[in-house]
């Protein structure tokens, strides 16, 4: 679970990206514990912040939910370094589910994902974006402030929308293509989607593949 401050952002949705990710993770945890798979939790920002070792007992659900509920997104993130760190932590072949908005330089991230995959782990990348980040619903003159760095930028939102969406699409497409090449599941979500429906859709599609 990505703990970066940007994950705590929502423009006009009920759930922040982080909360959305937590719900998703909790649901998956529940499902997997029920089929006796051992489930653990690792959180990271610049580096790995905490981890709960995987177990398959029923009690593990409570432990993970409790840990999830205490998490707060703060500070900047370094996904690539964190993933390398995680790879070193895993002793068995595992299924790794990454919840992040991936708002960072994509190259090191993809490289570290490939490394995880190379180590024999199965990886599912949940790319969670806010509805505002996907649709860019702003109008007129807007000054944007980045939550992590407090950098600002003044733009004419109307003019910018097309360019922004094109950039975003290229970014996502880049991830999708690289993930596909590396055998990684890339799941793009935004906070306006019903997360249960999103999850079901994903699981059905995964079931169809295996």
């Amino acid at each position: 679970m990505d703990l970066s401050e940007s994950m705590g952002y929502t423009h006009r949705q009920e759930l922040t990206k982080f909360e959305y990710g937590i719900c998703l993770a909790a649901a998956l945890c529940y499902l997997m514990i029920h089929q006796n798979d051992p489930v653990g939790l690792i959180t990271f920002d610049q580096k790995v912040r905490s981890s709960i070792a995987p177990k398959s007992k029923r009690r593990q659900i409570g432990t993970i939910l409790s840990a999830l509920s205490k998490l707060k997104p703060t500070g900047t993130t370094d996904i690539a370094t964190s993933l390398i760190q995680i790879a070193a932590m895993l002793k068995h072949r595992s299924l790794l589910m990454v919840f992040s908005d991936l708002l960072t330089d994509p190259e090191p991230v993809i490289a570290s994902l490939r490394r995880l995959r190379h180590s024999g782990h199965d990886v599912i990348l949940f790319h969670i974006l806010d509805e505002a980040e996907v649709k860019f619903p702003f109008e007129g003159l807007v000054e944007f402030e980045e939550p992590e760095t407090a950098a600002t930028l003044q733009v004419d939102a109307n003019n910018f929308r097309v360019d922004y969406l094109r950039e975003l699409e290229a970014f996502c497409e880049n991830y999708r293509r690289d993930c596909l090449q590396s055998g990684i599941d890339y799941v793009r979500l935004d906070t306006s989607m019903q997360f249960d429906r999103a999850l079901t859709e994903y699981l059905v599609s995964r079931k169809a593949r295996y």
Binding site: E133, E139, E146, P147, D156
Partner: protein, 711 residues
Amino acid sequence: MTFVTPSLLLGALLVAVPVVLHLIMRQRPKRVRFPAMQFLHQRHEANRRRLRLRHLLLLLLRCAAIALLAMALARPSIQGAGMRGGGEGPVAAAFIFDTSPRMEYQHHNVARLEAAKELALWLAAQLPSESQVAVLEAASGASAYSVDLAAARQQIRRVATSPVVRPLPDVMADAVQRLTEAEQPRKEIYVFTDLARGSWPRSAADRLRADLERLPSAQVYLIDVGVEEPVNFGLGDLRLSAQRLAADGTLQLSADLYRSGEVEDRPVELFVRGPASELEKRGQNVYTWQPDAAQQAEFSVRLPSDGTYQGHIRVAGEDSMAADNVRYFTVHVEPPPKVLIAAADPDDAVYLTEAIAPRDLPEGASAGFVADVEVIRFEALAGRDFSETAVVCLLDPPPLAAPVWQRLGDFAEQGGGVGIFLGRRAVPVEEMNGPVPQELLPGELKRQWREDTHLAPDAYQHPVLAKFQPFATEVPWKSFPVYKYWQLDEPAGAATVLLRYATGHPALLEKPLGEGRVLTMTTPISDPAFRADRWNLLPTGFEPWPYVILASETVAYLADSGQTPLNYAAGEAARLPLPRDNQAEMFLLTRPASEPVRQTIDLAQRAVIVRATDVLGNYRVQAGGMVSGLDLGFSVNLPEDTTRLDRLEKADLDAMLGEDRYSIARNRDQVDREVNVGRVGTELFPYLILLVAAALLAEHVVANRFYKSAP
């Protein structure tokens, strides 16, 4: 480009307002937290430039809207009074009225002049106060500026038609002169006209344009009160077979018929009043009047006794324009002038006699000039009394005795006509060149010139040759060769050459002598063809009609008969020569429809001269009692072209006044509009307001897109 209210242009300074607002009240952007800034950074530079451009565009649109609004309120115009200012300042105006009788044309029961006056009065009321108005009529000469508009209105009310009018370009030249002197910066010329060709002679075009160039700022308005499709019956100029004829002669009258409108039958009537009778109807012909058809009315009337006959022909019935319905005429029936022909042999005179006193004239033929001829031998001249004689013709005279030349000279000095037709007998030349004969002859005889030549007139203004004018190029002079003639010195002093041979030597010369005239021909005028040494074939060539005209016109000129017109155009001074034995010093002038007025005869002129011929009709001049006294007359008519209703085309006006130099208006609305355009120019206000609206709309669209508040 000019402005009605140039001061409002200062409003354009308000363009500073949006600039200031732009600088000090820049809109604060909405602040929004947004993590996905990395996608914004990449396009930010291009977007920033676009943003600045749009800011600038918005600023420009706002400035443009304000500037355009200020400009629109200043009421700019093209072709206006310039920066001299407003459209309401005093004007120096010239109101020119076409007062030709054509303006009496009635349309919807309103004469054109009345319509013109009504428009003029209305227009005068519209003029800004303190304007000066000069009212000029085509009839009279220059008129002064009215002291105020009320006086001008009085003057307009007094405008009336007149038979004697000047062409409108001449009146406009006067108006330009007056306006040049006026102090008011804005000058306007209003011409109230029916735009008929008669008032706008084409020959005046260059002069008129030059006149208008002198005052380029003056606006010219043609107020057209004419009728596009007139309905009218009209008579053209009256043509008479002769103005003087012998008793029992037949006068033939003809006049062209002009019809505007539909084909209609209508009679033309002839009225004649003789010396001893009242005016009575002497003929009536019904014609089918057709537009654009060459038709003429023709009458002939026998005039039984000597005296002055006057009358008129007229179109019967009602008509829209009365001015061209009547044409007046005067003819004198008088005994033919006595012509004394002196010849060596009376047979020599046969051709000349036949030319001026034809014996067997076919029925109905008009002889033109007819003389009472007496032929005598030269020897009989010595004791001859010339008191009853009008002309003495010497056919091939030998050197006569000095007293005879002397008497002939005296005869000429008292008003007689002497014709000398030189020939083979004029030898020795020294005698002919002696001082006494040279009193009559125009120059010394030099030699007999032998060359096969012919007469070759080069000008036809002189009355002797005027009849040749219409067919000047068709006269077969070469068919009437001249083999021999006297070469005379080029005339000196008062003598002039009327006619030359093809060789360039004089053929016919005139020398005025006292009150009379002497014509000298350098070759015989009645040379028989059978002579072996004939000098010419003038009377004996094939069909010698040029000879008949030349001979009769020469003698008629000597008799001063038929030369003085009896029918005049309105405005021309009438001149009626008095008989040589006239003793009267006063005469009674009876103008048409007036009582007789006593006037003095200018005896030095030996003629009654009437200059005031501004009333149409028949004039009567009587002197010396009813029985043996003088009873003369003359007629005054309108020239035909002043009553023709043919209208000018725009191309004619363009050629005359210059394109874009004038405006035409037909009614109050048009006058109002044209005068406004002329004074203020073509207003750009509506176009500018449209531009303001466009600028505001564009500003609105851009601003809306731009400042749409972020959610």
